[in-house]
Symmetry: C2
Subunit: 421 residues, 2 copies
C-alpha cells in the first residue's frame, strides 16, 4: 500500500510518524484547555471531540462518545463503527477533500508542538505476558540456570500474569525509583531499601476494544483488539528476584508502566501483518492462528544520561514474538475470564536473537556482569537516576511509516524516606 | 460492647447477622425496581438511596453519592464522613428514635426476603494474598514437597499476586466449571479439557476505601480500609499446577471469585480487633503493626450436593492469618503502586492448625488422596457439578453477632464445546 496523500503537507513526509495511512487516536490538551480526544496527522492534532460537538464528524449518530478524555466509549461501538469513522476521517483529510472540509478541520485542529498528551484510554485491567522466546530464555538462564531456562509450559502456554492497571502512565511521566524488599545473595535476611537494579522492558501493548464472556477463538480475539501502543514495563530486578516465588512478580512491576500516547489502530497496521515463528512444539488447537497475527514493526530504545545525548541501546522487531496478542487474548479467556473494553495486554519483552536486539538491560548487561557502554563513554548495568529512556516504533511502508510516537520516561531518585509526611 | 437495641425488633435477636451494631452496606433491587444502595438491619433493608433523595439522611450535603448502584462514591468521602453517616444512621435506627423517624425509615425500607442483592461496590483492581501460614505450608508441601513448603520469602513478605477484578461476582452467582490447559503427571504434553480439580478457597476480602500514591505505613493502610466481605477464590488446581511457574496463577483463578453481598464496615468490627500471631522471624519495620489489626471472626463452609442437605466441611477463624489486611496493603504500596477506592484485597486461604479447619478441598482431601465424607455418605476430593458452596462468617459479641450474610455459589457443568457459537 502506498502513501495516502493528505492536504496537510506535513503528513506527506516519509519521516512523519503520522501520515494519512496512520490516524492514531490520543487525548490532548492545549494551553489551559480541557482534555479532548484527538487524531494525529503530520504535525497537527485533529480535535475529534470538537468535530463531534459541531456535528461535523460523529462516530455515533445518537450519542456523544468523545465527550470524555478517553477513547473507551468509542471502542464500545465496535468494529463496524471503527471502520466507518476511520473511512470518513480518511476522506476528510485526503488531498481530494473540498475547501469547506479543509477549512472545518483546520478550525478543529491544533499544532502538536503546542499540545500536551495524556493517557489515550482508561485501562480497565492490565495483563503482562512473557511471550518472547529470546527474552524468556535469557532471563530464565539468569534466574534459574540454562538447563531450566524455558519453563516446561512455555512452548504450550502464552505465559502471563495480571499486572497493575493503576500504575500505567502516559509517555513523559517521570518514574520514581522504588523502595522494596531486597535480599542480597550473601545476606540471610532481606532489607528495605531503594531498588539498585531498575530496568526497562521493551514491549508492545494491545488494547482490547470489545468485551467477552467465556472463551473466544484466536480469530475472535483478533477481532476484539482495537489497537496497539509501545509499552515500557519498568522492572525492579532485585525486588523481583526475592519476591517472585511462588506467585509471580508483584511490587517489582507495580511502580509504573509507560505507554506511548497514540493508539495505532489495527486497521493502520493491517498491511504489516506477519506470522509468528515456526512452532517448536505443536500448539493445542485453541491457540492455532487462522492467519498472520503479528506485525512487522521496527522497535528501538534510546538511553540518555541526564544532560547527555541519547544512545540507541537496542534494535528489534515485534515479529520476534513467539505468541501474538490474539493468541494471548484467546488464552486469557479460556477459564471464562471476562474481558472488558480498555483491557491492556503487554506483549512481554521483545528481544531478538542477537545481543544488540535484547529488550532489557538485564539481558543487555547479562545481569550486570557485562555493562554496556554508551556513546559518551558512560557504562550502564541498570538505570541510573536522571536517565531518560525512550522507546520508538514504526512499521515501514512504501514511502511512509506508521509510527507510534515516542514512549519516554525519566528516572527520579528514590525518596529519602518514603514514610516522611 | 453489648447489643445496641433497635426499634426494628428482628435486629435485636441474638441470631441475626444484622443487629444495630452491624449496619453493613449493600446494593439491592426489589421487584422490577432499579438497583439501589441499602443498609441491612434485622430482616429489613433500609433504602439508603431513597433516604438521600428525600433529604432524610445524606452523607454529603452538596452531592449525591448513593445515586448509583455501588458504594464507591460514598467511600471516596473518607473516614470522617463514614463515621458521621454511621452515627446518624445508628441514632435513627436505635430504640430511642422518635415516631417520625421510625415512620420515615419504614417507608424507605424493604423486606430482605423480597430483595435481590447485587455487587455492593465496583471492584477497581483485585489482589489476592497467600498470607495464611497453615495454608501456605499445606499447599507448599503438596506442590513442592515439605522441605520447600514455605518459600524463603514467606516469613518476610505478605506474598500476593494481582488477580482479576472482572471475575469478581456477588454471592448467588452460579460458577461455570472452566476449561483449561491441563497436563496429567504421566503425560508428556498438556491437553485442553474441563477442570477436574475445581476447588474453593475460604478467604476474607478487605475493601480499600481511600486512595494512595506512594508507600503508606501499616497504620495509614488500616485507616484506608473501608470494610470487609467473605470471599471465595474459586481455584482450578489442575490448571494452576501446570501454568503457575514462573509468573504465578493466571487462568486457574480467573473463572470467578465470589464475595458476600454486604460490606461489613471496619467500624462494626472494631470491638473484635485481635493481634496477628507471634512472629517467627522479625518483620522489617515497615510491616510492624502499631496495634491489633486482625479480627476475631468465626468462619465456616458448607457443601451441599445437588438436592441434598449441606455439610459443614470446615470451621476456622480470621485470626489465623499471619499477616493482616493492613500489612498487606502497606506492602502493596512499597513500590509506589497507586491504590484506588474499590480495590479489593483477598486475605489468602484461612486454614487453621488442624485438619477440620482447612480452608480448601485441596487441603481437606490432601490433594485428592484422602476424600472427605459428607453427612449423606457421599465423598469429595474436589467439587462436583451441582455442588453448592456457602461461606459463613460472624464476629461474636455479648448477645449479638456481626454477621456477613452468606457467600454462596453453585457449580454448573463445563460447556460441552466452549467455542460452539
Amino acid at each position: 500500500m502506498p502513501l495516502a496523500k493528505s492536504w496537510i503537507e506535513s503528513a506527506n513526509s516519509a519521516e512523519t510518524d503520522f501520515p494519512l495511512n496512520n490516524l492514531p487516536y490520543g487525548v490532548f490538551s492545549a494551553g489551559d484547555g480541557e482534555m479532548r480526544c484527538g487524531v494525529a496527522i503530520g504535525d497537527r492534532i485533529i480535535d475529534a471531540t470538537g468535530l463531534e460537538e459541531a456535528g461535523i464528524l460523529r462516530a455515533d449518530a445518537d450519542a456523544d462518545v468523545l465527550d470524555a478524555p478517553f477513547w473507551n466509549d468509542f471502542m464500545e461501538l465496535g468494529p463496524e463503527a471503527w471502520a466507518a469513522y476511520r473511512a470518513r476521517l480518511t476522506e476528510m483529510l485526503s488531498e481530494s477533500a473540498d475547501e469547506a472540509t479543509r477549512d472545518a478541520l483546520t478550525t478543529y485542529s491544533v499544532k502538536m508542538s503546542e499540545a500536551t498528551l495524556h493517557m489515550p484510554f482508561r485501562v480497565s485491567e492490565y495483563t503482562d505476558f512473557y511471550a518472547g522466546k529470546h527474552h524468556a530464555f535469557n532471563v530464565g538462564t539468569m534466574f534459574r540456570g540454562p538447563e531450566n531456562a524455558l519453563p516446561p509450559n512455555w512452548l504450550s502456554i502464552p505465559i502471563g500474569y495480571n499486572a497493575r492497571a493503576s500504575s500505567v502512565v502516559v509517555s513523559g511521566t517521570p518514574v520514581r525509583r522504588p523502595w522494596g524488599q531486597i535480599k542480597a545473595p550473601d545476606a540471610e535476611l532481606p532489607s528495605f531499601a531503594p531498588c539498585k537494579r531498575f530496568d526497562l522492558e521493551l514491549e508492545m501493548g494491545a488494547i482490547v476494544g470489545q468485551p467477552s464472556q467465556g472463551p473466544v477463538t484466536v480469530q475472535e480475539a483478533d477481532d476484539m483488539i482495537f489497537g496497539y501502543v509501545l509499552l515500557n514495563d519498568w522492572s525492579a530486578r532485585d525486588i523481583q528476584a526475592w519476591e517472585y516465588q511462588p506467585l509471580g512478580p508483584f511490587q517489582a512491576k507495580a511502580t509504573a508502566t509507560s505507554i506511548s500516547p497514540w493508539i495505532v489502530t489495527k486497521a493502520a497496521l493491517e498491511p504489516f501483518r506477519t506470522s509468528t515463528p515456526p512452532r517448536e512444539r505443536p500448539l493445542l488447537p485453541y491457540l492455532e492462528e487462522p492467519g498472520p497475527m503479528l506485525y512487522d514493526i521496527d522497535l528501538s530504545v534510546t538511553l540518555a544520561p541526564k544532560g547527555k545525548a541519547p544512545t540507541t541501546i537496542t534494535r528489534t522487531n515485534y515479529r520476534e514474538m513467539y505468541y501474538s496478542a490474539a493468541q494471548q487474548l484467546a488464552h486469557h479467556t479460556t477459564s471464562g475470564c471476562p474481558m472488558r473494553v480498555g483491557d491492556l495486554l503487554g506483549s512481554g519483552t521483545i528481544s531478538g536473537p542477537v545481543k544488540e536486539s535484547r529488550g532489557s538491560l538485564l539481558e543487555l548487561s547479562w545481569g550486570g556482569k557485562e555493562p554496556i557502554t554508551l556513546d559518551g563513554g558512560e557504562t550502564r548495568s541498570f538505570l541510573e537516576d536522571g536517565d531518560t529512556l525512550a522507546l520508538q516504533g514504526a512499521a515501514r511502508g512504501d514511502g511512509y511509516r506508521i509510527g507510534f510516537g515516542e514512549c519516554t520516561g525519566t528516572i527520579l531518585p528514590a525518596l529519602k524516606d518514603p514514610y516522611a509526611r
